[in-house]
Each structure stands twice: as structure tokens, then as C-alpha cells.
């Protein structure tokens, strides 16, 4: 039976932070799961987010499907500098609400290219908000030791991230 082991959890403090980064990730699990609760200071319903592994800025391929409540959209990027297409809640959203994001990375310690999936649902009391699915691959054979999520603006206080390691025990 697969077990989820909490490796680390972190909450952004009063000053905010543009980026949240897990480093020196143990290589003792099969998969990784990161659960984010994010609100940024971008003056929109959303705050654009990007994801990188091992501080690398090359080799990311991703496809996004998005719904806003009033429309649908999609985006594809080849050989990009990061994985994008997903968001945290922005400062125009209902006060004190945070977006839910889930990042899943299977076989993160393997010597093959690294695939991952992201889904996000933003919170706000309005007709237009955002939810997205992102499928991505990082064309790199190195094991993932660092995961960085960066906002277009600061992630505000009380935003949080929890990293879980998954293995069959």
C-alpha cells in the first residue's frame, strides 16, 4: 500500500515571498506530491505561477487546459524556461481566499525524463475565476532534488506548501 510521508511544510511569513523552494529532496521515495495553498499580490483574480526543477531554466514542455467560468482556453509551450499555465489566487479575488494547487511528480529520482501534472482551482466570489490542468515534461535525466514555484508577484502571508514523498511500504 502506498503511503504519503510529509517531508516538509512551510508557510509564508508576514513579508511575503516571490518564490518557495524545496531543496535537498530525499531520493528515497518513488513519487512526490506537493500541495500548495497560494495567494499572490498580482492585481488580478489570479497570480501567475511558474515551476522549475533543480534551478534549471531549459527543457520544459507543457500543455495547459483552462476554464474561467465564462470561457475555455489552452496553451502549449515547447522547450520553455519553466512550466507555466497555472495560477494562485490574486489580490483582486475575494479577501482571505487562497487557490488550491496540486503538483504530482512520478519517478522523480529516475534517470528518465521527468513528467508531472498540475491542477489548480482558484477561489473567489465572482462569475469569472480560473481552474487549470497542466501536463508537463522536463527533458532532463537528473533526479529532481529541488522544486521551485515562483509567482509573478509575491506570495502573500499564510500561503503554504507541503511536500509529500510517496512509496510502497
Amino acid at each position: 500500500m502506498a503511503t504519503h510521508n510529509l517531508i516538509q511544510t512551510v508557510t509564508v511569513g508576514a513579508g511575503g515571498a516571490a518564490s518557495v523552494e524545496f531543496t535537498s529532496i530525499p531520493q528515497t521515495y518513488t513519487d512526490l506530491l506537493v500541495l500548495y495553498s497560494l495567494r499572490g499580490s498580482q492585481a488580478q483574480v489570479y497570480t501567475q505561477a511558474t515551476l522549475t526543477f533543480n534551478a534549471s531554466s531549459t527543457g520544459y514542455y507543457w500543455k495547459m487546459l483552462q476554464g474561467t467560468g465564462t470561457s475555455i482556453g489552452n496553451q502549449a509551450v515547447t522547450n520553455g524556461s519553466s512550466i507555466g499555465g497555472f495560477n494562485g489566487t490574486g489580490s483582486s479575488a475575494t479577501a482571505n481566499t487562497f487557490g488550491n494547487l496540486r503538483l504530482y511528480i512520478p519517478n522523480y529520482a529516475s534517470s528518465q525524463f521527468k513528467s508531472c501534472s498540475i491542477n489548480d482551482v482558484l477561489e473567489t466570489n465572482a462569475s469569472t475565476t480560473y481552474m487549470a490542468l497542466v501536463a508537463a515534461v522536463w527533458n532532463n535525466t537528473n533526479a529532481i532534488t529541488t522544486i521551485t514555484i515562483t509567482g509573478a508577484n509575491n506570495w502573500v502571508q499564510h500561503s503554504s506548501a507541503s511536500l509529500y514523498g510517496i512509496k510502497n511500504t
Binding site: 512551510v10 515571498a17 523552494e21 529532496i25 519553466s82 507555466g84 515562483t150 511536500l163
Partner: protein, 74 residues
């Protein structure tokens, strides 16, 4: 300079450090690219809404009822 919150998963050590100039440049480039993409998406959405409204008005001018117009688009 924007800051980065880092958590060492082996030691548990946490630190708040300034982002490097390269990291800030990347952040700004990503934000700019996203803004362009989002503006294009919103323009496309607005154009589609305008086209729908125009088509409905023309159908109504031909004498179709709201129910008949809705049936056509269903």
C-alpha cells in the same frame, strides 16, 4: 530585490534569501509572456461574444423567436 523562501528537506533548515538577478529576469520574462497570452485570450473571448450577439440580433430581425434562436445554438 524579491525574496525566495527555501526549505532544506534534509536538514529542515529554512532561509529567506534574495533572488538572484537571473531569477528576477526570468520572473519578469515569464510574467510578460503570460500577460501577452492572457490579453490575446481575452480579446478572442470578447470577439466571440460580439459575434454571438450580432448573429442573434440578425436572426431576431428575420423574425425568429428567442426559443427558436436558442434551439439553433443548442
Amino acid at each position: 530585490m524579491p525574496t525566495k523562501l527555501t526549505i532544506n528537506c534534509t536538514t529542515g533548515e529554512r532561509a529567506e534569501v534574495e533572488m538572484t538577478a537571473e531569477e528576477v529576469a526570468q520572473q519578469e520574462a515569464d510574467a510578460s509572456a503570460f500577460a501577452e497570452e492572457e490579453a490575446a485570450r481575452q480579446a478572442q473571448e470578447a470577439a466571440a461574444a460580439d459575434a454571438r450577439a450580432s448573429a442573434r440580433a440578425k436572426l431576431k430581425a428575420l423574425g425568429l423567436t428567442d426559443a427558436e434562436i436558442a434551439a439553433l445554438s443548442g
